[in-house]
């Protein structure tokens, strides 16, 4: 059953069938011709894939980002951040990476981060003479850090499935997220130095103050979101909605760059982008269900528990398996399936449960932008209008960087756990 499923998927992908159609029709054909399962269940899974509390923030962050762009907020934030860090080597790309980490602290949703940052930073990077493949690869990988940096839906789910303290997972996620981000930043620095990319002249104090004043209203948005979430006023979803409404008010009445006609178009475009992303999540859920039903993840876990006896080897295998799984599956689904099966084995091998959670999430973060199925790739394609093949060189390079980070996170537990130890 699983073999036919995989053959069909690759056949359809090869013929350039839309990815969600390929995943969906392969599942339907397999179920109809090879099993006596009622195909209605696939419709239920398709539905269940997006009937998730966790995904609700997505449309609102997309809407907020679109309003910020059309309403002139993004351009002002950008001018400000350029004035701030544009003179550093790789300044624009650094800004992309750092703001993705910053944004990751606002949203548990990786694609939403790609959208919010990408819409602003991608055109800027192209203007700044960065290669298209580099910029697209950076966008797709930088967004994935929001999976690791709290608040992270995936970490919460890991905690609820295994019973590990979510509070501890969050604290460990900060350290791991920073290592993950720095690994990309080192490459950005080397790339920018090698290509002698033009740097901005350092902004004078007056220029910086001017840019800050102009951007002040827009700069309040991260404050509203961050402050709102951490003080317990909003959920991430609500923070998305509030920032959309706030951005709308500012663009209408303060910057006066918005009108009703533009607003309507923004809403339609946001809804379309939401659908474009969510049909993929939906179809990925169907595929994940097919694999679970075919006992594939379970078989993998069983093999590990019977054939491996040292923690070192176990972690190597775990990482390889998770990397491969992350290529094909959506993060939340992978956690739900693998974590309960791996958890007892890992404990028996003396691995710290919080550490295990962080390792798993770091793997799945990488999976967010690895082909063939990585939602961040699709979202980045939506923003850049690039083909997947064109993006590959960039994706590959950031993949290498983040895998190095993963190795550090895996084999130096204190790199992610030290904050936890300080706090006690």
């Amino acid at each position: 059953m699983i073999i036919l499923l995989m053959v069909l998927i690759f056949f359809f992908l090869f013929t350039s069938t839309p990815i969600f159609v390929a995943m969906g029709i392969a599942s339907f054909l397999t179920v109809i011709f090879l099993t006596d399962i009622n195909p209605m269940i696939l419709i239920q899974r398709l539905f269940g894939g997006i009937d998730q509390f966790a995904l609700m923030a997505l449309p609102f962050f997309i809407l907020a980002a679109n309003i910020m762009e059309v309403g002139g907020l993004s351009s002002r934030i950008l001018r400000w951040s350029r004035a701030l860090v544009g003179h550093i080597t790789g300044g624009v790309a650094m800004t992309t990476q750092v703001s993705s980490m910053f944004f990751g602290a606002l949203s548990g949703s990786s694609p939403a981060t790609v959208v919010a940052i990408g819409k602003i930073m991608y055109p800027e990077m192209i203007r700044g003479k960065y290669d298209k493949w580099f910029s697209a690869g950076l966008l797709a990988s930088a967004g994935s850090v929001s999976l690791i940096i709290p608040p992270s839906i995936t970490l919460i789910i890991f905690g609820s499935v295994t019973g590990v303290s979510v509070g501890s997972l969050f604290i460990a996620g900060i350290g791991a997220g920073i290592i993950y981000g720095i690994s990309s930043m080192i490459y950005i620095y080397l790339y920018a130095r090698k290509h002698h990319l033009p740097k901005d002249p350092k902004a004078s104090k007056g220029e910086l103050w001017g840019a800050t004043k102009k951007a002040a209203w827009a700069l309040l948005i991260p404050v509203i979101i961050l402050g709102g979430i951490y003080s317990g006023i909003f959920t991430p979803t609500e923070a998305g909605g509030v920032s959309a409404v706030y951005a709308l008010i500012i663009s209408f009445f303060v910057y006066k760059e918005m009108n009703l006609k533009k607003f309507y178009k923004v809403c339609v475009d946001s809804a379309v982008l939401t659908a474009q992303v969510l049909v993929l999540v939906s179809a990925a859920q169907v595929l994940g269900w097919m694999l679970t039903r075919g006992q594939v993840p379970q078989a993998i876990a069983t093999w590990i528990t019977t054939n491996v006896d040292t923690a070192f080897v176990f972690l190597i295998i775990l990482n390889i398996v998770l990397l491969i799984l992350g290529m094909f599956m959506e993060g939340v689904a992978a956690i739900i399936i693998v974590a309960p099966l791996i958890y007892p084995t890992a404990l028996a091998m003396g691995i710290d449960p919080v550490h295990l959670g962080v390792i798993m999430i770091s793997n799945l973060a990488i999976g967010m932008y690895t082909p063939p199925f990585g939602i961040n790739i699709f979202v980045t394609q939506g923003i850049t209008n690039m083909k997947m093949g064109e993006m590959m060189p960039g994706i590959l390079r950031f993949f290498v960087c983040n895998v190095i980070a993963l190795i550090i996170i895996t084999y130096i537990p204190d790199a992610s756990l030290f904050l936890l130890k300080i706090i006690g």
């Binding site: 009622n38 269940i41 608040p151 499935v161 979510v166 959920t235 399936i337």
Partner: protein, 332 residues
């Protein structure tokens, strides 16, 4: 796929050496592998496979691997999942009658008494109502008594709930319960509860000890209140058409395994509950039991809503039977 047709001709023997055709059973539940529920599920699997000489295989899918709670109930209705173990609250949108189990202050503060009624005649009659949704109810599995956990506010009487927002499972009845006490209830999915408590989206929630402890809700709450206001009761149920299509021998094996399974689960729960309670208390949280008078105040307010929400003629009849059975179970 599963081949679910059982050869009925080869099954007529009474000497215990019945021939079973090969069947694979899909069994789903929501709890992690170290939970009492999973202990019971594993026991069920063990008994079934042993009694059928390995001909019948039970594939247990724990931790909501096959979908959210609602989706697992629906999947069982669709016949995709053969057997599922779900809280009665989640089954309510499918079969309204079963919600009686979740009525606040229906059950006495005693596990033995509660199990006695559930396993007894009235409980089994109630289990039969699941047929209205296309389910074969197999038995009741334990989750334990629910406790309140709250943020800043201590709760001692119903009025204390005024203005609070409580998280509940996706059940209309539980929303109603808090309305009666003056609170607002929002259904928040299981996986999001910790976050919602931490971020103050809700002020509190209700769950059994093991759920509170294993999900670390006590980390983000200030009060844990032993209230005995209700139980988390699971029903183990099968798709009815599928169950009826099995040979009688296999049906009997499943029913026997169900008893062994829920017994093992109840035992495992009793063992961990004391341990978890102590650990929660040791965490330094404000843990307290409602006094008998406080419980009485809650009970009298809550009793009024029983007949308001469980109000169809046959429901009222069932409620009376339950009241009576509970009294009888307490008197001896």
């Amino acid at each position: 796929g599963n081949s679910e047709k059982v050869d009925s001709e080869s099954n007529g023997q009474d000497d215990g050496s019945a021939e079973f055709e090969e069947v694979e059973i899909t069994f789903s539940h929501n709890q992690p592998i170290e939970s009492p529920e999973h202990v019971g599920a594993e026991k069920f699997k063990e008994i079934v496979e042993e009694k059928t000489g390995g001909k019948v295989k039970v594939n247990v899918f724990p931790a909501s691997q096959l979908g959210s709670l609602r989706e697992q109930v629906e999947g069982t209705q669709l016949g995709e999942i053969n057997i599922t173990m779900q809280p009665t609250a989640v089954v309510t949108p499918f079969v309204d009658d079963i919600k009686v189990i979740d009525l606040p202050y229906l059950w006495p503060p005693s596990n033995e008494q509660t199990y006695k009624v559930l396993d007894g005649e009235v409980g089994q009659e109630l289990l039969g109502t699941l047929e209205k949704g296309g389910f074969k109810g197999l038995g009741y599995w334990p989750g334990g008594f629910k406790l309140f956990t709250t943020g800043d506010k201590e709760v001692h009487k119903p009025e204390d709930f005024k203005g609070m927002t409580m998280r509940v499972m996706e059940s209309p009845l539980l929303i109603e319960q808090y309305k009666t006490w003056g609170a607002t209830a929002i259904p928040v999915p299981y996986a999001e509860v910790y976050n919602s408590l931490q971020q103050g989206v809700v002020d509190g929630q209700e769950n059994p000890l093991q759920t509170i402890f294993l999900n670390n809700y006590h980390e983000v709450q200030k009060n844990v209140i032993d209230s005995y206001h209700g139980t988390m009761t699971y029903v183990l149920m099968a798709n009815q058409d599928w169950f009826n299509g099995l040979s009688e021998d296999l049906q009997n094996v499943l029913l026997e395994a169900e008893v062994e399974g829920h017994t093992a689960a109840r035992q495992a729960l009793a063992e961990v509950e004391d341990e978890y309670r102590q650990k929660i208390i040791d965490s330094g949280i404000n843990y307290y039991k409602l006094t008998d008078e406080e419980i009485e105040a809650f009970r009298s307010v809550s009793r009024e809503m029983h007949k308001e929400v469980y109000n169809k003629p046959d429901q009222l009849e069932m409620l009376d039977k339950l009241y009576k059975a509970i009294d009888e179970a307490g008197s001896n």
